[in-house]
């Protein structure tokens, strides 16, 4: 969003959120997942500032309490810390499991694998089902570990 509602931030927030309505996943959960995903992809680093609650609600029009809740979950997990008067910052981060280049390579492999599966006549649903049984669902694992 370009309206100056955001105000002149000293530093641009390091992540922008988006909310998928009607996905069944609560909005606070989506925010938490997006931060974790950005961390695991190496898009967020220690010291990065998350957008303020005000910035988030002005951008994605959700309830301020939802953002508070997401940030509390992340803080309880030790992923971020709130610094009084300054904002919410990423604390320490485990280094991403693979370099961005390596991740792109892996994604390329996956793409060609999907192409082979399609050529062999598998439907999109069948492919998704195959992926689901091959990999345990990380979202489910996370939820049960909370």
């Amino acid at each position: 969003m370009n309206t100056p509602l955001n105000g002149p931030a000293a530093r641009e927030p390091a992540i922008r959120f988006h909310i998928t309505r009607g996905s069944g996943l609560p909005a606070y959960r989506q925010l938490v997942d997006q931060v974790r995903q950005a961390l695991s992809l190496g898009l967020l680093a220690a010291g990065d500032r998350l957008p303020s609650v005000r910035e988030v609600v002005a951008e994605v029009t959700i309830n301020p309490n939802t953002v508070h809740r997401a940030y509390q979950v992340l803080e309880a997990d030790g992923v971020v810390e709130a610094r009084a008067g300054l904002g919410t910052f990423v604390t320490s981060v485990a280094p991403p499991s693979a370099t961005p280049e390596h991740q792109m390579e892996l994604q390329e492999d996956l793409r060609s694998w999907a192409e082979r599966a399609r050529r062999s006549g598998m439907s999109a649903e069948a492919i998704s089902a195959l992926i689901a049984v091959t990999f345990p669902n990380p979202a489910h694992q996370r939820q049960s570990s909370e």
Partner: protein
């Protein structure tokens, strides 16, 4: 004000206009810092409730507390309450700047600097006459008047009803950003339930002058499920709506706690679906007493 004290608490509020009941037995409690959606069909009593809370209409039954005290003569009462009615009351011949000066002159707590900055940020020409502003801009200006007073409680009667989608979005952004900064409690009435579903975390649903459903939105949604299963089997929980197609039935049910529904495929519901089911339930209930029975069992207390 302590955290567990309600920002708004009503006890059996009632209001009659000549022979018609506008509001009856209206009881709910809204915790501070919440954004409460007030929904219901036209004539259900939404505006009457907001006007009572704003001190513009005197109820003939019941009582209420705002921000922990009963408002009235000699008390601070409504000083920290702002109310915006559907007609955006503004002085049409004033310029935008004159409107701001009037707001500052009429309200000791008005934050003139903030209001001016916000209007400039939104692209207002301060010299333009209010009457020549678009509907969306007039609503924005009226909302800025309300927000500039730094209210602890903000009452909005269908603020987005006359606006196009872009103006709506812009108004919601302005509202949420300001509310996020000040921890304002908000009650907003609207027919745009899907829009409310984006940002409301509390709900009051009125039909035919009565509160049919109220509570924390997440808790309400967690106690409702959409079940899909065989038409001949009977679903668990309280059935709110049911549709049958061939051998398959789609049923909206309410149940406290974990819903055990063997043989049924259970899906979560969204706010709009739940609200529409309740509106339909009470619109269809020809037998008033049957509807009242359902209320007692269906009302969720926070």
């Amino acid at each position: 004000m302590s955290d567990n004290q309600a920002a708004v608490a009503t006890y059996g509020l009632g209001k009659r206009y000549r022979r018609s009941r506008a509001l009856s037995e209206c009881t709910f409690s809204l915790p501070p810092g919440r954004i409460c959606g007030l929904v219901g069909p036209n004539g259900a009593g939404k505006s009457t409730l907001l006007r009572i809370l704003a001190g513009l209409t005197v109820p003939d039954a019941g009582s209420f507390e705002l921000l922990g005290e009963t408002p009235g003569p000699g008390r601070s009462g409504w000083r920290r309450v702002a109310y915006l009615d559907q007609d955006r009351p503004l002085y049409r011949r004033f310029s935008v700047a004159e409107t701001l000066r009037a707001a500052a002159a009429l309200n000791a707590t008005f934050d003139f600097g903030w209001a001016r900055r916000t209007l400039e940020d939104l692209g207002f020409d301060l010299h333009q006459t209010v009457g020549t502003l678009s509907g969306g801009q007039q609503t924005q200006l009226a909302l800025i008047w309300c927000l500039g007073r730094r209210p602890a409680l903000l009452l909005l009667d269908e603020p987005t009803s006359a606006l196009d989608p872009l103006a709506r979005e812009s108004l919601v952004r302005l509202l949420l950003a300001t509310v996020a900064e000040n921890g304002t409690t908000v009650i907003v009435s609207s027919h745009a339930v899907s829009e409310l579903g984006q940002f409301c975390d509390f709900l009051v649903l009125l039909t035919r002058s009565q509160v049919r459903l109220t509570g924390d939105v997440d808790e309400l949604l967690a106690s409702h499920r959409l079940l899909v299963g065989a038409a001949e089997s009977s679903p668990p929980g309280t059935v709110l709506s049911s549709a049958t197609a061939g051998r398959q039935a789609t049923v909206l049910v309410r149940s406290e706690g974990e819903l055990f529904a063997p043989g049924w495929d259970a899906e979560p519901v969204d706010l709009e679906r739940m609200v529409v089911a309740y509106l339909r339930l009470y619109a269809c209930a020809e037998d008033e007493s049957a509807a009242l029975d359902a209320t007692t069992s269906a009302r969720v207390r926070s």
